[in-house]
């Protein structure tokens, strides 16, 4: 089998931190090569280096048996590598055919575009690929997996030899994923290779021939998928346990503060039932396709909750909206603070007080004295550095930003905290601080729900863990019986 990509001993560091160490990878023609690893293991960096977006410190790249001296994006695209990013980029106002042919529409001899012919040709090409859509429709009408297939078709049409897919199935359900996989497998016959990045390990076994395991910037080698099973793969992916947090006091209360009963939402989750006691930390883990994200949004009121009951302190909640949730005592820490967590350009103290304006103001006039005091209090409690309540929130480090948002949640005197990936993008030291803080909240009888895919971290802090798989709850376990492998396996492939 001819080799298409060969990278050797790639090393890269960013501001003193080594992100990739001696990583090598070989991809052959007609091969689908998976890449797995935790967030932060180095997957994106490696792909960026292959695409020429950034340059490695050391290491050699060979493509199609030619050494690549100075990779840059345009060059790599020309040579035949295409990246299909997780957030697909399309020309939204144009038709499918125009997206396919962008920059080079089929023209007649007078250099005029013959639209009938354009659509016919596009339809033909897509049909041969295995994508059956009418190329004259607006690309916005395509579903997500169809857009992915279109991106791949475009790459194939431009004679790409290697296509990198970055988490293409994160938002797809089972049916859509299967359609996509059939499509991808078809392309193999055309001598095209794929690099397939994913967190959903089951898929690796479904579609990949080989898989590269990245752990903390190191390569644990490329293995034949046939020689592995999910257990073995999970074991390979276990990395160093740095600064492991240890829970000090587990919850012993039994009074419910929050319960969910048969929550069902069309297309996303069904019969979700669980409860949380006062002072209990419940962890829920689930992949992107499990419906976990939509469940959290539904509980908080950012999206529809569907049918079923939500109770806080035995009181039923109806017509949820973020405002009502906060009033009822439910607060939410988003998983992407840059997108919807930080109120940019505003100072720390305003970011903290934004949810409790009603309580620190009289006749709508904010009491600055109270606001300052509350902010100072939180800065001390949460050890926010630098302790400047007037500093713009954008100027703080990631960990401190997250702490500030915790401060915002805490001042509302909540009964339940929904934490969505609470330590994502946070440096190691701040992580420990935050876990400590979470435990402190728990010990003041607040119920905590942590939604995350970092099972190691969940095990360190939770009283109980629930696993969601394919839109249902499939497993529940108490802290005494926590088993990393079992939980991971269940999250990845169900029972």
């Amino acid at each position: 089998m001819k080799n298409i990509l060969k990278i050797n001993k790639i090393n890269k560091h960013f501001s003193g931190i080594k992100v990739l160490t001696n990583v090598s990878l070989e991809v052959n023609q007609k091969e689908i090569h998976g890449v797995v690893g935790k967030n932060g293991a180095g997957k994106s960096t490696l792909m960026n280096i292959i695409m020429g977006i950034i340059n490695a410190d050391e290491g050699i790249i060979h493509f199609d048996n030619k050494k690549i001296k100075e990779p840059n994006p345009l060059k790599m695209i020309e040579l035949g590598i295409t990246l299909v990013p997780q957030k697909l980029k399309m020309l939204n106002t144009l038709s499918v055919a125009e997206n396919l042919f962008c920059g080079n529409l089929p023209k007649n001899k007078f250099r005029f575009v013959n639209w009938k012919y354009v659509y016919k040709k596009a339809n033909l090409i897509l049909e041969k690929m295995g994508l059956n859509v009418d190329s004259s429709i607006s690309v916005q009408e395509l579903s997500v997996e169809q857009k992915t297939m279109l991106s791949i078709s475009k790459a194939v049409f431009h004679e790409s030899k290697l296509i990198i897919l970055d988490e293409p199935t994160a938002v797809l359900n089972k049916k859509e994923t299967n359609i996509l996989f059939d499509f991808i497998k078809k392309q193999k016959d055309k001598n095209i290779s794929f690099i397939y990045i994913s967190h959903q390990l089951e898929e690796i076994f479904e579609i990949c021939d080989k898989v590269l395991v990245l752990v903390d910037g190191y390569s644990k080698g490329s293995h034949n998928v046939k020689d592995l099973n999910i257990s073995k793969l999970i074991n390979l992916m276990i990395g160093k346990d740095v600064n492991s947090y240890k829970r000090k006091n587990y919850c012993d209360k039994t009074s419910n503060v929050f319960s969910v009963n048969n929550l069902t939402r069309r297309g996303f989750y069904q019969n979700i039932t669980f409860n949380i006691c006062e002072g209990e930390i419940l962890g829920i883990c689930g992949l992107g396709s499990s419906g976990l994200n939509e469940l959290i949004h539904g509980i908080y009121g950012l999206e529809r909750k569907g049918i079923g009951d939500i109770c806080i302190n035995e009181k039923h909640l109806h017509n949820i909206s973020p405002k009502k949730s906060i009033e009822s005592g439910i607060v939410y820490l988003t998983n992407d603070r840059h997108e919807d967590g930080l109120i940019n350009f505003r100072p720390l103290k305003e970011n903290i007080s934004i949810s409790i304006l009603k309580f620190i103001s009289k006749l709508s006039i904010v009491n600055n004295y109270k606001e300052n005091n509350i902010a100072k209090e939180k800065v001390n409690e949460l050890k926010i550095i630098p302790a400047d309540i007037n500093k713009e929130i954008d100027l703080f480090s990631g960990g401190n930003q997250q702490k500030i948002i915790f401060g915002r949640l805490a001042v509302t005197a909540p009964k339940l905290m929904l934490l969505h990936e609470p330590v994502q993008g946070v440096d190691v030291n701040a992580k420990n601080d935050i876990f400590e803080t979470i435990e402190e909240f728990a010990s003041s009888n607040i119920g905590i729900l942590i939604a995350s895919t970092e099972i190691r971290e969940l095990i360190n802090i939770c009283d109980r863990i629930i696993v969601m798989y394919q839109n249902k709850i499939v497993y529940e376990v108490n802290h005494q019986k926590f088993d990393f492998e079992k939980i991971m396996l269940t999250m990845e492939q169900g029972i």
Binding site: L302, Y332, D340, L342, I343, F345, R346, S353, S364, N368
Partner: protein, 324 residues
């Protein structure tokens, strides 16, 4: 360094004023300074309204149309009916009491703003097109009611805001400064003020923390409309005559003054005190150009230059001041 960044515009204002005082004869005098302030008053009121919109990451292109319409309606309601000539028209003839008319003006401004805000926040229409179209509607309506003619002779009580004096200080100056102080306090210290900034800097985050985004935008535009009406009251009172299309071309000057004063087009940033400095700077420059009897050529060139500089600084601001 932060102090410099924050009060930069005031230093520019000071330097400009000093330079003009030195190099331009007749510039530096008590009466001229009064003229500067009076000249900037109406602009100032409009800048407050526009700044509120900008804080929430919106723009109100219809403010000058509101000025136009409410001044025409006010004159129409207050003036006696006279024989209309081609250039001059009389009022409706009901000679409504000025205080009632003022209330009507302010309410009308608020209603116009409310409609803008509703279409933008609740229906989801683009703010540029909505306020642009509204501008056409308002300007045209003003022409219709006023028959495109001037209406002179507004009553004294009405003119007080625009032309009267209190403690020897011209009312426009007093009124606009008061409004600036009032609204500055409003945006800095009220809950709604916080919400306005929040919504402008990160809409999604604001919704997540429980802020009613739609209601906030609605309030912002309603205030902008009401302030535009207030500006109209002041302007009409000053001129004592209703002129067709009053307030034309102010929009770009208003936006320029706000942006020079540190109000960012991207929302969530800036202050009204800064905007005040922007207004004063523009007023000083306009006054200087006037005194020097400058060719319209230079007037336009200077205006264009100022707007250009303001917008460039705003675009570069994230780079310029964050690294300090």
């Amino acid at each position: 360094m932060n102090h410099l960044a924050k009060y930069f515009i005031w230093y520019v204002l000071l330097i400009t004023f000093v330079c003009f005082s030195i190099f331009i004869p007749n510039f530096f005098s008590f009466s001229n300074s009064k003229n500067i302030l009076i000249g900037g008053s109406v602009l100032g009121i409009l800048v407050i309204g526009q700044s509120l919109c900008l804080f929430s990451r919106n723009l109100d292109l219809s403010a000058e149309g509101t000025v136009s319409l409410v001044t025409v309606i006010a004159a129409w309601l207050m003036l006696p009916a006279t024989e209309s000539t081609f250039a001059q028209a009389g009022g409706l003839g009901i000679e409504l009491h000025p205080i009632i008319v003022i209330l009507i003006m302010l309410s009308l401004g608020a209603v116009i703003g409310f409609i803008n805000g509703y279409l933008i926040a609740y229906i989801g229409m683009n703010f540029f097109i909505v306020t642009l179209a509204m501008q056409l509607v308002l300007r045209g309506s003003g022409f219709v009611i006023g028959e495109g003619a001037v209406m002179p002779g507004t009553p004294k009580l009405f003119n007080f805001l625009g032309g009267g004096q209190l403690w020897h200080i011209p009312m426009p100056i007093l009124a606009s400064f008061t409004m600036f102080l009032l609204f500055n306090y409003f945006v800095k210290s009220t809950t709604i003020g916080r919400k306005i900034f929040s919504v402008g800097s990160n809409q999604k985050a604001s919704i997540t923390v429980g802020i009613d985004y739609k209601k906030t935008v609605l309030i912002v535009y309603s205030l902008s409309g009401m302030l535009a009406a207030f500006a109209g009251w002041m302007l009409l009172g000053k001129l004592e005559i209703s002129v067709p299309n009053l307030g034309a071309e102010l929009t770009l000057n208003v936006v320029a003054a706000a942006v020079i004063g540190g109000v960012s087009l991207k929302g969530g940033e800036g202050s009204l005190i800064g905007a005040l400095a922007g207004v004063l700077l523009l007023a000083v420059i306009n006054n200087a150009l006037n005194i020097m009897n400058v060719d319209p050529f230079w007037v336009n060139a200077v205006r264009g230059f100022i707007i250009l500089v303001a917008l460039i600084i705003d675009a570069q601001k994230s780079r310029l001041f964050k690294t300090i």
